[in-house]
């Protein structure tokens, strides 16, 4: 499901997160407290695609509503 071919996978940086391909030098300690586990883990991302889409759709609807509200009462 996560690798569904038709799913919109976004720009490069998003794909890198989804694929978990960030190199270990970005996820390993370089002198501070330990933290050697892989921290790019995308479990659960797919289930949020529709929520993200809903956020965008609702923002567009809200902005359109604000615009119409403004036009209606200011005109």
């Amino acid at each position: 499901m996560r690798r569904g071919g038709s799913r919109f996978r976004g720009p490069l940086i998003v794909r890198r997160f989804q694929d978990g391909i960030l190199p270990d030098d970005m996820t390993q300690p370089t002198g501070g407290p330990s933290g050697s586990q892989r921290i790019i883990d995308t479990r659960g991302d797919a289930s949020f695609s529709s929520t993200y889409a809903a956020v965008v759709v609702i923002e567009v609807v809200v902005l359109a509503a604000l615009w119409f509200f403004s036009r209606y009462f200011s005109g």
Partner: protein
């Protein structure tokens, strides 16, 4: 204030302290104290995220802005929903699975100790001063409007907040935030209901909104490309996007909120709650300010909303001049009221030509009222010597205390206190986390027991609480300092966001590149501020881009990071 309102305010403060202190039973280790053992439900974290962002300055200032300028300020938040999506995809899982206590802790894992220390220090300086302002601003307004002393008001806000944050940790912060959001939203909705139900007989909500709209107060979207204008569609969408990415992604007071969530998904849901609701909520608060404006179309407002400044002028040598302005203001108000009624009658009767004429008459009379108010403000500035004086922040509190019925006054004062306390508590908890985790545990006393760190964390919270209250009293007399503090925040967010972009998106970025890039970003923002007139909202874009460009340039001159 009536005794019933006092009882509501005292009851609210007692309830908040009791509820917060109750949470200390669950806080016996540092992970519980700062991260609630990552156990909180998404909706509680989501409400806490919103409560943290909504300070008393936001509640009081935004309604005042709605009254004075209308709803255009809502555009400031247009970038927020997209920022929340980006953070849900990137930084939320990143921080959560890194098991960090602070955002800056991650910078040491990716870069080095000095980059972490610099970022942590920037946070402590900018937010440490800002928390003083968050106490000071509502304390100044409430002390004047309610007639309380400034010290008492600052203590009434700061002491309960410090107590429950100190003993209850992040659990207390979050669960009191939940209740405080209920008080805030309840207070705003009750005010809106009062304003709608209080319209003159025979006057409808749509009619008064048309009147308010004729003054431009219901203009919500401005597509102009003017970079000096803060509130436009484009500045909100792009500048606001960077600002919100910086604030929610790099400011420990917000990062710590979603690190307390039960899971990565719960953290995401918490942020997405704001993505769905922030713009409508902000529009509602601004609309409340517009409705206060419509209320004062039919009920004479004070010429100035800051009673202390007004009495200062009355007692001075220019009292006669002020009295003359008051007479003019009263006449102008009567003309405006008459013009508003005529405009509504023309609309009711479907008289198109009359609608145009009455609208022109109304806007002229509104302009006259605004001009007289401006003259009065100028007079106060000259008499008091306070050239930055503006009474926009006094509009809503004055309306609350002089126009709302008994009971609602107490609820709304509690709502303003709740807004202040929710933001302060989150800041104190985050300042303590950064102090202890990024400095004390890392540099001063590594390897001590959890019990020791817990004690130091509580003492650190108390220190920041006391610092905030003392600084608040100092800041109250230094208007320009407040501006400086806000500007430091603008330098900080964009530049810090740039470092995190380097950290997670540029594998070639080196520790030195990030460190010097961060410093360069702040310098560039400072130069832009000094040499141009562009709005501060764009500083975040400038800061981020500068850090990435300079950071990458330096990184490319160095050997690639190992790994």
């Amino acid at each position: 204030m009536h005794p019933i309102d006092w009882a509501i305010v005292v009851g609210y403060l007692t309830w908040v302290i009791y509820d917060g202190l109750k949470r200390s039973q669950d806080t016996d280790a540092i992970e519980g104290y700062f991260l609630a053992r990552r156990s909180l439900p998404w909706w509680a974290v989501g409400l806490s995220v919103m409560a943290t962002q909504m300070s008393a300055i936001t509640l009081v200032g935004t309604t005042g802005q709605g009254y004075k300028d209308g709803m255009r300020f809502v555009q400031f938040y247009f970038g927020l929903p997209v920022a929340m999506i980006i953070l849900s995809v990137t930084l939320v899982p990143f921080f959560y699975r890194a098991k960090v206590f602070t955002a800056y802790e991650y910078l040491e894992r990716r870069f080095d100790q000095k980059t972490r220390a610099l970022a942590g220090l920037l946070f402590l300086v900018s937010r440490g001063l800002a928390v003083g302002v968050i106490v000071s601003a509502p304390a100044v307004v409430l002390s004047i409007v309610l007639g309380w002393s400034l010290v008492f008001t600052a203590l009434a806000i700061g002491v309960p907040t410090t107590l429950y944050t100190m003993f209850g940790g992040v659990q207390a912060v979050t669960w009191t935030d939940v209740k405080q959001m209920v008080v805030i939203i309840g207070g705003v909705l009750a005010t809106v209901a009062f304003l709608i139900l209080g319209l003159p007989t025979g006057v409808g909500l749509g009619e008064v909104l048309h009147v308010a709209g004729s003054t431009g107060r219901l203009t919500t979207i401005d597509f102009s490309l003017d970079l000096t204008e803060t509130y436009t569609f484009w500045s909100g969408l792009l500048g606001g996007l960077f600002l919100m990415l910086g604030y929610f992604g790099c400011d420990q007071s917000q990062v710590q909120r979603y690190l307390t969530a039960q899971s990565v998904d719960a953290g995401r849901r918490a942020l997405l709650m704001s993505a769905f609701s922030k713009i409508p909520l902000q529009a509602l608060i601004l609309l409340t300010g517009v409705l206060v404006f419509t209320f004062y179309l039919f009920n004479e407002p004070p010429m100035l909303f800051n009673a202390v400044h007004e009495s200062q002028v009355r007692a001075g040598t220019r009292a006669t001049e002020y009295a003359g302005l008051e007479t003019q203001f009263h006449q102008a108000f009567e003309q405006r009221r008459e013009a508003a009624h005529r405009m509504m009658a023309a609309r009711r009767n479907g008289n198109v030509a009359g609608m145009t004429d009455t609208r022109a008459t109304f806007t002229a009379s509104q302009q006259r009222v605004a001009d007289i108010r401006r003259s009065a403000v100028r007079l106060v500035q000259e008499v008091s010597g306070d050239t930055a004086y503006d009474d926009v922040n006094y509009v809503f509190p004055t309306f609350i205390t002089t126009r709302l019925p008994i009971g609602l006054v107490g609820l709304l004062i509690a709502a303003v206190l709740a807004a202040a306390m929710s933001s302060i508590a989150a800041e104190l908890n985050a300042l303590s986390a950064t102090t202890v985790i990024d400095f004390y545990r890392r540099h001063l006393k590594p390897g001590a027991s959890d019990r020791h760190y817990l004690l130091v964390s509580k003492l650190s919270t108390a220190f920041w609480g006391i610092f905030a209250m003392v600084f608040a009293l100092y800041a109250a007399n230094l208007g320009s300092l407040i501006e400086v503090v806000n500007r430091v925040g603008s330098y900080f967010y964009g530049s810090l966001l740039g470092v995190f972009v380097l950290a997670i998106a540029a594998r070639r970025a080196t520790a030195n590149g990030a460190f010097w890039g961060l410093l360069a970003g702040m310098v560039v923002v400072g130069l832009v501020e000094v040499t141009t007139d562009i709005s501060f909202i764009w500083y975040n874009v400038v800061g981020t881009v500068s850090v990435v460009v300079v950071g990458m340039a330096i990184s490319l001159l160095q050997p690639a990071p190992a790994g």
